[in-house]
């Protein structure tokens, strides 16, 4: 299945503006991120030392933050759109 990934702000430098990622069978957000980070050496941008997603990295699946779904275990379906962006908090 094909998942569309859109990256914003500094994540765009690592992942590009938009790309289609092909995943086999049943896949989760974790599978997607592992696939996504592999060629970009961007693991440290997303994950902390313990291998968990950094809490402030925003990952939305079809407009819903994964924290309100099933976190990194959120299952993906073909055609899903995943947005990844860092916090922007200044004023």
């Amino acid at each position: 299945m094909i998942i569309k990934v859109k990256a914003f702000a500094r994540f765009r430098e690592a992942f590009g503006k938009e790309q289609d990622i092909e995943l086999d069978g049943t896949a989760t957000v974790m599978d997607l991120l592992t696939e996504l980070c592999a060629p970009h050496d961007a693991h440290d941008m997303i994950f902390d030392e313990s291998g968990m997603i950094k809490k402030y990295v925003n990952i939305l699946v079809n407009g819903r933050h994964i924290q309100s779904l099933s976190g990194i275990k959120t299952e993906l379906a073909g055609g899903d759109e995943v947005a990844i962006f860092p916090p922007v908090a200044g004023g």
Binding site: A9, L60, R64, Q67, S68, V88, G90, G91
Partner: protein, 243 residues
């Protein structure tokens, strides 16, 4: 002069729309990078009453972006500097200033007298307070945030659209970060445009959408966002349009 002042925007907003702008009151949370251009454009547009809250004084490092404050204003209270400029920009506008730091005890009272809230805060702790107060009092919230060359904006209609907590459930780290003033100008201009559209029922609002401005590659993009049915801040309030 009053009518002539608005000659170029009345064709867009309508004569009755301009009256609604005049009758509206806007709370601007912060007189800094976002609050400065927001307040300037809202005052120039003829908002009836602007209430602006900031507890800080002007620091020289503010001057690259906080365009309400000028070189001579260093060390002054930002609200005093802001009031002086805004009253000169448009004497028709009533300017109220509040020198309190927004906290969980005062936020409801501070925003309660206004029809709309402009989020010009520099941290998410305060933004979550505004978000909750906006939902509790059913006041639209116009979010903006900036960092470096990038910024984001969205419009929250309590009970109807995704709120700030739906989109950003976690408080990001705080700290001093790089920024150019023009980034604040872009994002604040979006916020003010949203405010004027909301007041005058013009156009389509940036609700259930998160807009991203990226000055580094000069692109504007957006993603759809949805209400979280389990959101700690807006769950069970107002019209529930999610399935």
């Amino acid at each position: 002069m009053t009518r002539e002042r608005y000659d170029r925007q009345i064709p867009l907003l309508g004569a009755d729309g301009q009256e609604r702008v005049r009758d509206a009151s806007v709370f601007i949370a912060g007189a800094g990078g976002l609050g400065s251009p927001s307040a300037i454009y809202l005052a120039a547009a003829g908002i009836g009453r602007i209430t602006i809250a900031d507890f800080d004084t002007v620091d020289p490092s503010n001057l690259n972006r906080q365009i309400l404050h000028w070189s001579d204003d260093v060390s002054r209270m930002k609200i005093d500097s802001a009031r002086e400029k805004l009253e000169k920009i448009n004497p028709d506008v009533e300017i109220d200033v509040i020198s309190e730091k927004i906290d969980e005890n005062n936020v409801s009272k501070l925003v309660g007298g206004s029809d709309l809230i402009v989020d010009a805060m520099d941290n998410f702790r305060a933004r979550y307070l505004l978000n909750k107060a906006a939902i509790a009092r059913n006041i639209p919230l116009f979010h903006g945030a900036v960092h470096g060359f990038v910024g984001q904006a969205t419009t929250v209609i309590p009970g109807e659209t995704a709120c700030l907590r739906c989109i950003f459930p976690n408080n990001p780290p705080e700290g001093v970060f790089p920024i150019i003033g023009a980034t604040c100008g872009v994002v604040a201009s979006i916020q003010v445009t949203e405010v004027l559209k909301y007041i005058t029922c013009t156009g389509t609002l940036a609700t259930n959408r998160l807009l991203f401005w990226n000055g580094a590659d000069t692109t504007m993009s957006e993603i759809p966002v949805e209400r979280d049915p389990g959101c700690a801040d807006c769950k069970g309030t107002g019209v529930t349009r999610y399935e």
